[in-house]
């Protein structure tokens, strides 16, 4: 029945395919065309914008830095998510519900709002500095807002739900008897974690990693508000080039380069992890 007829089987995907053609593929093709044109008035083929995007040390530095930021945030988020997952695994249904609630709460709070909270927390006279100074742990305020570390912390918080939920889902599926058996055989919990829990939860972690990577490297709001004016990342560069200085063709080329870099990294990680997981099954 569902396999009945190659064409009719796909018919129900047609409306979405049509929408994606008009609202996604066509605009992206236009983006490519404009990136290959010298100016926005008429089409004059040139590669100059790509050359500029890929050879200008400043642009290239920003691209590299953006991808590195994405990786840093993804790793940090994974480190923050695992303890929650391990706790989740040990909890009964009620505890699990509470944990899911705590994970969802920030996810349901606007990202702009959460970013704003981080500005208040990390500021020179913000929550952390005022508290630490009042109990006498520090004398001089720490610099956190408008720094890389501050930005990473804020982004970890923003993407933690996207990492924690799939990790929890994988961990919940691990057969408790397997863990108990390993422990019964005298394995330490660290050993069990390394040999049983970690490999079995990797699919969830990888899914979370990819989502976090794609999300944090394009998180325009947090990057500008918490990162400040001296840390420039690709989304801001694209926005400034397009809207701020009206170099539409250059902005289009940067967009394409950025998109391809992200897609290539995601694709490679996905591929590698699948291979790795298949290798483990064998």
């Amino acid at each position: 029945m569902r396999a009945g007829g190659a064409v009719s089987g796909y018919l129900s995907a047609a409306p979405l395919a049509l929408l994606f053609t008009v609202a996604y593929l066509v605009p992206v093709v236009i983006l490519v065309i404009i990136s290959l044109s010298a100016s926005t008035s008429g089409f004059n083929f040139t590669l100059v914008h790509y050359v500029a995007a890929l050879t200008n040390g400043f642009n290239l530095g920003i691209l590299f830095d953006t991808l590195v930021l994405g990786l840093q945030v993804s790793f940090a988020t994974m480190l923050a998510a695992y303890p929650i997952g391990l706790l989740f695994m040990r909890c009964g249904p009620r505890g699990r519900a509470i944990i899911v609630f705590l994970i969802l709460l920030p996810m349901l709070t606007n990202t702009v709002v959460r970013t704003f909270a981080w500005m208040i927390i990390l500021g020179r006279e913000g929550v952390i500095n005022i508290s630490l100074m009042s109990i006498g742990w520090i004398e001089e305020p720490l610099r956190m807002l408008y720094t890389r570390t501050g930005l990473i912390v804020a982004l970890v918080q923003i993407f933690l739900p996207l990492m924690a939920l799939p990790i929890n889902a994988s961990l919940a599926r691990i057969n408790d008897n397997l863990v108990k058996a390993a422990e019964g055989l005298g394995a330490s919990r660290f050993y069990v974690f390394r040999t049983v829990i970690l490999p079995l939860s990797l699919p969830g972690a990888i899914a979370g990693f990819l989502l976090t990577f794609a999300g944090s490297s394009t998180a325009f709001v947090s990057q500008t508000l918490v990162g400040g004016g001296r840390q420039i990342f690709m989304p801001l560069l694209i926005y400034q080039q397009a809207i701020g200085v009206q170099k539409w063709n250059a902005a289009a080329a940067l967009s394409i380069v950025f998109a391809i870099s992200i897609l290539v990294i995601v694709f490679a990680m996905n591929r590698y992890s699948r291979k790795y997981l298949r290798g483990m099954d064998a």
Binding site: F58, R124, L145, R230, I243, G244, V245
Partner: protein
């Protein structure tokens, strides 16, 4: 789920209809681009009600940087998102060159006669509606000796406490030029300015993305001393922030803020009327008052409160201020922006 399915469908259908027929709800409306911060708040509170009262039209205001505004209008110049905008001295040159502005109908403006010659756009695009001056903003609780010169920002005592912005903004460009001038440069030779900024890096605690964010950084204690617009500082002070404004000994850099109608507006007559309304002495006086503290351009308006720190009358302020000639360096500005982004990193 407790929500009744029919109610849900009703809400969805209703919102879809509202989206499909926006024209039904449309009356006469005017869209005005403003500046971020107290200017925008003032426009919303003062100009909006006046437009409703005088012209029976609704209005909406969007604060944005002038550079972004040009991009927004360019993206749909046949059907621009705004009817009226206010412009700094630099970006208005670009806007004029790009043909984004409509000439001002001087004959139809009862208030235009009030404006002195140097507050009328030389190419006939509109009157100045406000003056903005630039000086040193500082936190008097933390900086005990009031600064007197731009050079004070280089004081080693202020390590990590100075804030600056890049030349993508009028504030950043003016600061760069003023510093260049102090070190033997000029409007066209900012080399000494960049050299000085590189030395300043040791003191810089934050480079926020735009002047509004720099003002925020001052009010939040993120930085204690920074170049800033007078009206931003005054508005913060009126709200109880620990902030003060010092006029640099090298002089008070002054800009005009020009109101202009946008070409291809759907409501050209209304747009012209709004420009005239913006220089109306009554409107100007309301914007001059706390908590907005705009420096008016119409000389008929008396200065009160904090504005009197800058001058006794509008004429006084005009005499005191230094105007930069933006036509001389507007072409080099993009390269300054790029250079700042590349070289001034902390």
């Amino acid at each position: 789920m407790q929500i009744d399915r029919r109610t849900m469908l009703g809400i969805l259908a209703g919102s879809a209809m509202a989206g499909a027929f926006p024209a039904m709800a449309q009356s006469k409306e005017v869209f005005i681009a403003t500046y971020p911060g107290s200017v925008d708040e003032g426009f919303k509170a003062v100009v909006g009600p006046q437009i409703r009262q005088k012209f029976g039209a609704t209005s909406a205001f969007s604060p944005m940087l002038n550079t972004d505004l040009i991009g927004r209008i360019q993206a749909s110049r046949n059907n621009p998102p705004f009817d009226v905008a206010i412009w700094d001295n630099g970006p208005i040159i670009t806007a004029k060159q790009d043909g984004l502005l409509e000439k001002f109908l001087e004959s139809g403006s009862p208030n235009y006669a009030d404006m002195p010659a140097n507050l009328r756009d030389p190419d006939g695009f509109g009157p100045a509606m406000a003056l903005t001056s630039i000086g040193i903003a500082y936190n008097p609780k933390k900086i005990k000796t009031p600064p007197t010169s731009w050079n004070d920002l280089w004081n080693p005592e202020y390590k990590g406490r100075v804030g600056i912005v890049g030349p993508a903004s009028t504030l950043g460009t003016t600061f760069l030029i003023e510093v260049a001038k102090l070190r033997g440069g000029s409007e066209t030779n900012v080399e000494p300015g960049f050299a000085a900024l590189k030395e300043l890096v040791a003191n810089v605690g934050a480079i926020p993305p735009n002047p509004g964010a720099l003002t925020t950084a001052l009010s939040q204690g993120q930085v204690d001393i920074a170049p800033n617009f007078f009206n931003n500082v005054a508005a913060l002070k009126a709200r109880g922030a620990d902030i003060a404004f010092a006029v640099p000994s090298s002089g008070l850099p002054l800009q005009t803020v020009t109101a202009a109608a946008i070409k291809n507006s759907r409501n050209p007559e209304l747009a012209q009327k709004v420009v005239d309304l913006l220089i109306d002495p009554v409107v100007q006086a309301q914007l001059e008052a706390a908590p907005w503290i705009m420096m008016p351009a119409n000389p008929k308006v008396a200065l009160t409160g904090f504005n009197r720190d800058v001058g006794a009358t509008v004429g006084d302020v005009l005499k005191r201020g230094i105007f930069l000639d933006w036509t001389k360096f507007i072409a080099s500005r993009p390269s300054w922006v790029e250079r700042f982004n590349r070289e001034i990193r902390v």
